[in-house]
């Protein structure tokens, strides 16, 4: 219910102001009042009045109700300098217009040049209050927009960029073999699943959903990613907090079982068509659709592939009446807490893209609600164990795989540190340093 944080005393903002409890209060209050960005994480549990400045370097949060994921939310609530922000307020906008192109932070980098839509040039703060992990830390970095995967690969090869985040799986393989370039590879927590509409149409019947789960060829997923993925072994990402290994009970391809379930559902010969919706232009999702098509043909279900642009897909999925029968979705949990995954199976997520299955099981709903207000981890873990088993049994989706996260870097860029809590392509640039021996002459 109550969290107290003691701030270090040497932290200072880029303009020299100290980072105080007052600044922390301001930053949290601002996000809560603007109701944008990360506000959802705490909106229902924290009021601006609940933030107490105890002294200059002590801040206390009084939550409205117990909320176990609180600590997991805090890393995404960044602290800004109230003096700078409020000095640039226009028409009560809380400095929003000014902050579009300016910063008021205390972090390891500051902005040197900002060209929206082209590049963002950041410069290291040499006397960063936390210090630097390596004496040869990068002097800064240029976040350069290169939207096409093919262009990114070429830019890396020609040395126009030093780090590429988004090339195709095959190209990552090629780059890994290229002298002067290395490709770090890590298990990520982004799951791929095919959500099934549990409220409407044929897939509302759990027997049919199970039949589909048993008909699908899971190994094909790994093949499509060239081996750079693992199959899910629970509805929760493998290795995530609260995850339990359910390998034994996972659906794997078994056409006999699939046919049995079809018979139980009353469709021994199948004889209907389902829609598989995926994001237009995502080649991997299209290939997965082809696999699905040939697998379900075995149990007499026709599959129509429907590519949609992302906004249309989200709009269709927002309501059970219009949500597709089958829809390909990647989800990355944004907080290091099982609640971030569990709520994807709770009706409070109605309207969100990861809730396109519109799954509702009273027991799961109650457990999710209870687990997030339970403080004791042992007790919570038990609830998440049960949640995972029930969801798996109910089969609201084809539980697919987790693909590995990869980047391609020039060899002289060292110090790369991976953290699965970062979002898909994000790198913490603070740890990077230059290996001067590997640096090619200019």
């Amino acid at each position: 219910m109550t969290w107290t944080f003691y701030l270090v005393k040497n932290a200072k903002f880029h303009n020299g102001d100290p980072v105080t409890a007052e600044a922390v209060k301001f930053s949290f209050e601002r996000t809560l009042k603007l109701k944008k960005g990360p506000a959802w994480m705490l909106l229902n549990v924290l009021d601006p009045e609940g933030i107490e400045v105890v002294d200059d370097y002590t801040i206390r949060f009084h939550l409205k109700k117990p909320y176990a994921p609180f600590a997991a939310a805090v890393p995404w609530w960044y602290i800004m300098n109230p003096n700078q922000v409020m000095a640039h307020e226009e028409n009560g906008d809380y400095g929003q217009a000014w902050l579009r192109d300016h910063e008021a932070g205390s972090g390891p980098f500051k902005i040197r040049e900002w060209k929206s839509g082209e590049y963002y040039w950041l410069e290291a703060v040499d006397d960063y209050w936390k210090g630097w992990p390596h004496p040869d830390h990068i002097g800064g970095y240029i976040f350069k927009l290169i939207r096409e995967a093919a262009t990114q690969k070429q830019a890396l090869l020609t040395g126009e960029i030093d780090i590429a985040e988004g090339v195709t799986p095959e190209d990552f393989d090629i780059l890994a073999q290229t002298p002067g370039i290395y490709v770090p590879e890590y298990r990520g927590w982004t799951t791929f699943g095919i959500k099934m509409n549990t409220k409407k149409g044929y897939t509302a019947n759990p027997m049919i959903r199970k039949a589909i789960c048993y008909a699908f060829d899971y190994d094909a997923l790994i093949d499509i990613y060239g081996g750079h993925a693992i199959l899910e072994t629970s509805p929760f990402p493998t290795g995530f907090k609260g995850y339990v290994d359910l390998s034994e009970w996972m659906y794997r391809q078994d056409l006999d079982k699939a046919k049995q379930y079809m018979a139980m559902a009353g469709y021994p010969e199948g004889g209907f068509e389902l829609e598989y919706v995926y994001v237009a232009g995502l080649e991997e999702e299209r290939q997965i659709g082809l696999v699905l098509q040939s697998c379900l043909a075995e149990i007499g279900i026709k599959v129509k592939l429907v590519p949609l642009i992302w906004p249309e897909m989200v709009a269709r999925g927002a309501k059970a009446e219009t949500a597709p029968d089958l829809v390909a979705v990647f989800v990355t949990p944004v907080m290091n807490d099982p609640d971030a995954v569990a709520i994807q199976y709770h009706p409070m997520s109605e309207g969100a893209y990861y809730y396109m299955h519109h799954y509702e099981n009273p027991r799961v709903t109650a457990l999710v609600d209870k687990a997030r207000v339970t403080v004791d981890w042992e007790e919570r873990a038990k609830m998440y164990d049960e949640i995972q088993r029930i969801i798996l049994y109910d089969a609201p989706e084809i539980f697919g795989m987790l693909y590995n996260r990869r980047w391609a870097l020039r060899e002289y860029v060292q110090g790369f540190k991976f953290c699965p809590m970062r979002m898909t392509s994000e790198i913490d640039m603070y740890y990077l340093y230059i290996d001067k021996e590997k640096l090619p002459p200019k």
């Binding site: 109701k35 506000a39 839509g117 350069k144 093919a150």
Partner: protein
């Protein structure tokens, strides 16, 4: 003449009004929820509602349209949900890049197209003609997106003659903005480093963008020159003993230029449309890229802004082209 221009300008306003109605309502036919997208995947209903209100998306469609029109009169094109910037600000930043690319490509296509077209007419059925024909057929047949990728792969990755993407290298300070076209500004201010750098950046996208136009200009010009070649005034010019160079490049060309000029007006519009693909491949920070990104996110205000701006430029260029006829062909009168 003045009367004619006024009438055309009035027509332009009406065209844009029609265009705005069409775009406004067609863009909203798609059953998307831009506020929800902009609010982020985990946003609560309350947060989405708040954003809807802030961007006026909670009002009835017709009201939204009327408010939009009122905004235009005040020079306000709304605010982008995606970039959160005023659309006028975004367009102001991205349009010069597109204009530079299109003008450069157009100039490139016209100069090279007329030159090659004339050349292949004069030497028709010789090897030059065959070669130029190959060029023009491939120009009409090759998908621009593919061409752009191929050029990028060959000349940027393999031969490393040009940079892969962007408009200017890092460390190169953009020239002092006067026209906001880097090539022009760097020339005016004598900033050679910026000039060479932006020239090397623009060449590949310009070739990709101008290829279809180049091809059709070559073909039209070749046909026209062949046509004019046998006219009496050419024979008489030759009979006067004028050197062949003067006959071809002065007498013949002026007459062949008229159909090509029409082409330019049309091609300008095509090119503005073509920037969508080329800008994506070369990461050229223009309105084509801005427009396509906005469309993907159902971001209405920028879609409107880009459409109106392209429509406006297209109408304006066609008006200019029509006026240019008179200069090229004194027989044409405006009524």
């Amino acid at each position: 003449m003045l009367n004619y221009i006024l009438r055309r300008l009035l027509l332009l306003v009406l065209t844009l009004l029609g265009l705005s109605v069409l775009t406004f309502f067609i863009a909203r036919v798609a059953p998307t929820d831009p506020a929800r997208l902009a609010a982020g995947p985990y946003a609560t209903e309350e947060m989405v509602e708040q954003l809807r209100k802030e961007f006026g998306l909670d009002k009835p469609l017709v009201t939204q349209y009327l408010l939009y029109l009122r905004g235009i009169l005040r020079g306000d094109l709304g605010r982008s949900l995606r970039t959160r910037h005023p659309v006028t600000e975004d367009l102001g930043r991205f349009f010069p890049a597109t204009l530079e690319l299109v003008l450069f490509s157009l100039g490139f296509a016209v100069v090279l197209g007329i030159f090659l077209g004339t050349l292949s007419a004069v030497y028709h059925d010789r090897w030059i003609d065959q070669f130029v024909r190959l060029l023009s057929i491939s120009g009409l047949g090759l998908p621009p997106f593919w061409l752009a990728l191929m050029l990028q792969f060959l000349f940027a990755t393999i031969f490393r003659l040009f940079p892969v993407s962007g408009r200017l290298s890092f460390g190169v300070t953009p020239p002092t903005p006067i026209t906001h076209l880097y090539l022009v500004d760097s020339l005016i201010t004598g900033n050679w480093r910026a000039f060479v750098d932006s020239l090397s950046h623009i060449i590949l996208p310009a070739i990709s963008l101008s290829f279809p136009a180049l091809a059709s200009i070559i073909r039209i010009n070749r046909a026209d020159v062949l046509d004019v070649l046998n006219k009496e005034f050419i024979t008489s010019a030759r009979a006067k003993g004028l050197p062949e160079r003067v006959v071809i490049w002065k007498h013949m060309l002026r007459n062949a230029l008229i159909p090509t000029t029409t082409m330019i007006g049309l091609r300008f519009g095509w090119m503005l449309g073509g920037t969508v693909l080329v800008e994506t491949v070369f990461n050229w920070p223009g309105i084509g890229l801005y427009g396509v990104q906005s469309a993907i996110y159902s971001d209405f205000a920028p879609i409107m802004g880009v459409t109106l701006l392209i429509g406006f430029s297209f109408c304006l260029v066609n008006l200019l082209v029509d006026l240019l006829y008179g200069v090229l062909d004194p027989r044409i009168r405006y009524v």
